[in-house]
């Protein structure tokens, strides 16, 4: 398909940014956790779920969204947040638990809220789906053509919230798109041991007014293409969509995961199909940008990330007593 050059380059830049962001996070997270790993130690404590390898899902659909569209993301949220344009400084500061963070240090990596670009995420599997449907309902009631996207993992598609929300969204023809990132794993449980269907786009058959799309092989361009269809359907008021994308989890479920359940050669073979490399090759081979221009994009992305980490590290921690604030307004 033909994809506008600026979209292609934006996707590349955003994927690079997301990847580089998480590479920095791998290191920051490891600080204070050596030689003995302790989840609570270091400048970035708590659970850490990274999305390296899953960037195509995020950029392929966010390329079609504006600030007024809503994204609800799960426990593995950074690639979505970055693609949706969440304030990178404040997001990073939040992950470092700083006062300048999106949630003043109260939320952390699983709880990033940026109402400016209508982004949210949360740590409960599948819980974002109905909330995204609520944003879609609000758009419908306000008469705007905004849409809402809920990202979930393939494991989450077996949760009750998936079914309840799709039925309701189909019934009310809500502008909702559920993107299922099939990275083959729900922690240690392979998809084949959790999911009684080959791919979740087929579950659209259970709901009228609902279309299912399958994106194979972690392909960002195909993701862009089907997302365009799904977003346009939603904006036209034709109802929800389910997009399943086959994607790759390069790292453990969380940082520190011993991954004893995974074959040793799985990740190396996935890395050979790194979507960032593949989109870069496409850009260069199609002449969408020169080596030089590509490098500039990369540098721009990395500089932004470096600045965000610097901002986060230099920010102050909240005062302990601030823990008592913000329960009620």
């Amino acid at each position: 398909m033909s994809i506008p050059k600026e979209k292609l380059l934006w996707m590349y830049e955003t994927m690079v940014k997301s990847r580089y962001y998480e590479e920095q996070l791998v290191e920051a997270y490891a600080e204070g956790k050596k030689p003995v790993f302790n989840i609570g130690a270091g400048p970035v404590p708590g659970e850490m779920h990274l999305s390296n390898g899953q960037e195509p899902a995020a950029v392929g659909i966010c390329a079609h969204l504006t600030k007024d569209d809503t994204v609800a993301s799960p426990h593995r949220p950074h690639h979505h947040a970055i693609a949706k344009g969440v304030n990178l400084n404040r997001m990073t500061a939040e992950i470092f638990g700083k006062e300048t963070g999106l949630g003043k240090g109260k939320g952390g990596h699983m709880h990033l809220f940026d109402p400016e670009v209508k982004f949210s995420c949360g740590g409960i599997v599948a819980a974002g789906i109905p909330q995204a449907a609520g944003a879609a309902l609000a758009a419908k009631q306000k008469g705007t053509d905004s849409v809402a996207v809920a990202f979930i993992g393939e494991g989450a598609a077996n949760a009750g919230a998936f079914h309840e929300t799709l039925n309701m969204a189909a019934l009310w023809k809500l502008p909702l798109i559920v993107v299922v990132e099939n990275n083959s794993w729900g922690i240690s449980v392979p998809k084949t041991a959790s999911t009684a269907i080959s791919s979740n786009d087929k579950r659209a058959a259970a709901y009228e007014n609902t279309t299912g799309y399958l994106v194979e092989d972690n392909d960002p361009i195909e993701m862009y293409r089907v997302s365009q269809e799904a977003v346009e359907r939603a904006r036209r008021g034709e109802g929800p969509s389910i997009i399943e994308i086959e994607t790759f989890r390069f790292l453990g479920h969380f940082q520190g995961d011993p991954e004893l359940y995974r074959e040793k050669d799985e990740v190396p073979s996935l890395l050979l199909r790194d979507p960032i490399e593949r989109i870069k090759n496409k850009i260069l081979s199609e002449g969408a940008a020169s080596e030089n221009e590509v490098e500039q994009l990369e540098n721009k992305a990395k500089n932004e990330v470096d600045a965000a980490f610097q901002f986060a590290r230099e920010s102050e921690y909240p005062k302990p007593e601030a823990a008592l604030e913000d329960v009620f307004c």
């Binding site: 809503t70 609800a72 963070g101 999106l102 949630g103 003043k104 240090g105 109260k106 939320g107 709880h111 809220f113 940026d114 109402p115 209508k118 949210s120 949360g122 409960i124 819980a127 789906i129 109905p130 909330q131 995204a132 449907a133 609520g134 944003a135 879609a136 309902l137 609000a138 758009a139 009631q141 809402a148 009750g160 919230a161 309840e164 929300t165 039925n167 309701m168 019934l171 604030e325 913000d326 329960v327 009620f328 307004c329």
Partner: protein
Amino acid sequence: MQTTKRMLTGNKAMAEAIAQEMERDPNVFVLGEDVGKYGGIFGATQGLLEKFGDKRVLDTPISETAFIGAAIGAAAEGMRPIVELMFVDFFGVCMDQIYNHMAKIPYMSGGNVKLPMVLMTGVGGGYSDAAQHSQTLYATFAHLPGMKVVAPSTPYDLKGMMASAIRDDNPVVFMFHKTLQGLGWMDQVDESVGEVPEEAYTVPLGKANVVREGTDVTIVGIQMMTHQAVAAAKILENQGISAEVIDIRSLVPLDKETILNSVRKTHRLVVVDEDYKSYGFTSEIAAIAAEEALYELEAPVKRLAIPDVPIPYSRDLEKYVLPNAQKIADAVVKLMKE
């Protein structure tokens, strides 16, 4: 000269508040099971569909997680949803949305996301609806931080506190007592009808109400148990015991001062609840007294509540586990002898 009072049932008082707020603010809308044509199983949305149409009064599938979650998502976008959970007993199919999201998002976002929404739900037993349809679960909700939890006991408060709840920028769990709705198919109790002004007004959330003054003992009640406490106070009056009765009205925020002031006056405390006893409302009020008014107490605190059993079906069994006026009066009499 006697002026005619405007008397309404509990459900009509609630529905009136909702209608007035819907008129005031186009962002207010209602969703839930059977809230449309049926007008709510407990009548809280009576007449709203006719008045506001099906874009603002939405019947939902039996999908509590989906539609309560949707209310949260809509509230985050600046809407002001009122979402009904038909019986509070059903909370278990949707509690994640309620307590992990509705109640925590404002905090986790550092106050950047507001969720101006009302979750209303019917509570209470006494009509043989058995273990899965008779609970109040006051403490189950009140224990978890991040949501206001109110439980009004009169038509006047139902209207005024509903208006406050809708205007509040925080998530509010609004519990109404089924028997106090004044429905044609329920037991007709006098307390389900009361004077209600026609114009919109608010009653603040978080203030207890001294519904009867007294000097010998403080009885703290909630919803139906407030009325039982008042009836008990009348029994006690005949025996020369002067009971002060407090209607708590709001579990969160909790008006400790009103309770403590009363205890400082009467030096005796009885707490009555229609919820389970242990780890409940009576525990919290008793604990506050033990923590903040110990030296004021001239007798042990007495707690009356459901004795940690599921609510049984058969009438005499249910009566046995529910506190009532006579049981309260008996407890007070015993306490006065301490």
